[in-house]
Symmetry: C2
Subunit: 210 residues, 2 copies
DNA sequence: AAGAGCATGTAAGCTGTTACATGATTAT
DNA sequence: ATAATCATGTAACAGCTTACATGCTCTT
């Protein structure tokens, strides 16, 4: 079996194509106009990436050429592509992801609900929360350790990173609450205030605990 | 003149070498043990990068081989390297930097005080603040625009990005206050003190002090 | 003597960047 | 008719990753 390691851009393309079959040009527009500008919208990146994905059997393109239409090739996920996307999304969040690949984690989370389901979103949030909770103290230690020797700007830069992680941790807790509310209170019209504030895990089987 | 575009890793190396002459191995250790783990510590990245920098005349290595010591090559910035580092740090912060290169902005800021002076740090903070202030409303607009069509996880992911930027904006304000207290305080209460203009060292010749 | 860690490098491969190139359709 | 935009690609290049390779020094 080939290694089939898909690049980050490739994963982004898989996720977007799962949401909606699109042409290369459509995808470029998404990357150039929405908050996904972090990803490259250059044709030299996208078209080769699409070719690779097709060659690996994850997507399949069909040329649409109606009368009076420009030729365009619309790509769709194959079954293998869907499986691969799910596998990518379901990967647990490791410390390495927190340090070097937070954007990829957020991308996986963004796609998780449509591609797998809310429980996958919750699992990502939980493992992200766990990793953040264990990593942030390390950063604090580094800060207090190097405080004496670092220049002010270096210290401030490190503090900025820590605050970013703090912020993200708070967000994960908010997001988990959102999912708890969604699932726990489907019949919320009846009771405005009785059944909130649970913060319990849902049908997830205790994926990780504290 | 060649374009001499230095990679992000190259810039990180320049900054670290400005702070302290080091060998490739020293630099690798920094990348593997400190909060700079975002950068690669692999020899296949660092040694070629050092070679490039030397070839471009930004650093110069000298082999230290004392008796009973392992051979190691210690690199130092040249005058050209110092100038290049300063140029990189002094670049204004653009929206593209905020969207796709925040880590590089933070790196520049981290080095700014030692390599150029506090006023450069302040300039980075101010332009970063300005770009954030103009960019964040755009994100809010995207959020409210797509709220209807996005899945919950997609919306939450976007919110996470927005919160991250909010957090960063608050940090810039904190950091600016820090510098105001340190240095610009006299301007505030109109009480002239003997101000230390540490910032005027742009024409330094003896760059690589021991 | 053996092994661990120090210190440096090289080579293959992949991906993204930049720049160029090509047609076809719509707008002016 | 001309320009702009749609839509797709290719080629050269640079940089990083992974993996391998080489010796030297210190510890046990």
């Amino acid at each position: 079996m080939a290694k089939v390691a898909i690049s980050k851009l490739g994963c982004a393309l898989l996720g977007l194509l799962q949401q909606k079959p699109s042409s290369g040009y459509d995808l470029r527009k998404i990357f150039s106009t929405t908050a996904m500008t972090t990803y490259s919208d250059s044709p030299g990146a996208i078209y080769p990436a699409l070719q690779r994905l097709q060659q690996q059997g994850f997507i399949r393109g069909s040329i649409e050429s109606g009368s009076g239409m420009r030729r365009r090739q619309v790509f769709r996920l194959t079954a293998r592509g869907t499986a691969e996307l799910r596998k990518w999304i379901a990967r647990p969040v490791l410390r390495a992801d927190v340090i070097r690949g937070l954007d990829e984690v957020m991308l996986r989370f963004a796609f998780s609900e449509q591609a797998v389901g809310p429980s996958a979103s919750v699992r990502i949030l939980q493992s992200l929360q766990a990793e953040l909770t264990s990593y942030i103290p390390d950063l604090h230690q580094q800060l207090s350790a190097g405080k004496a020797t670092m220049p002010t700007s270096g210290r401030l830069a490190l503090e900025s990173g820590i605050k970013g992680y703090d912020c993200l941790l708070r967000w994960t807790q908010d997001a988990l609450r959102t999912y708890a509310l969604k699932k726990v209170a489907p019949a919320k019209d009846a009771r405005p205030k009785n059944i909130v504030q649970k913060d319990q895990n849902l049908d997830t089987k205790g994926v990780e605990s504290s």
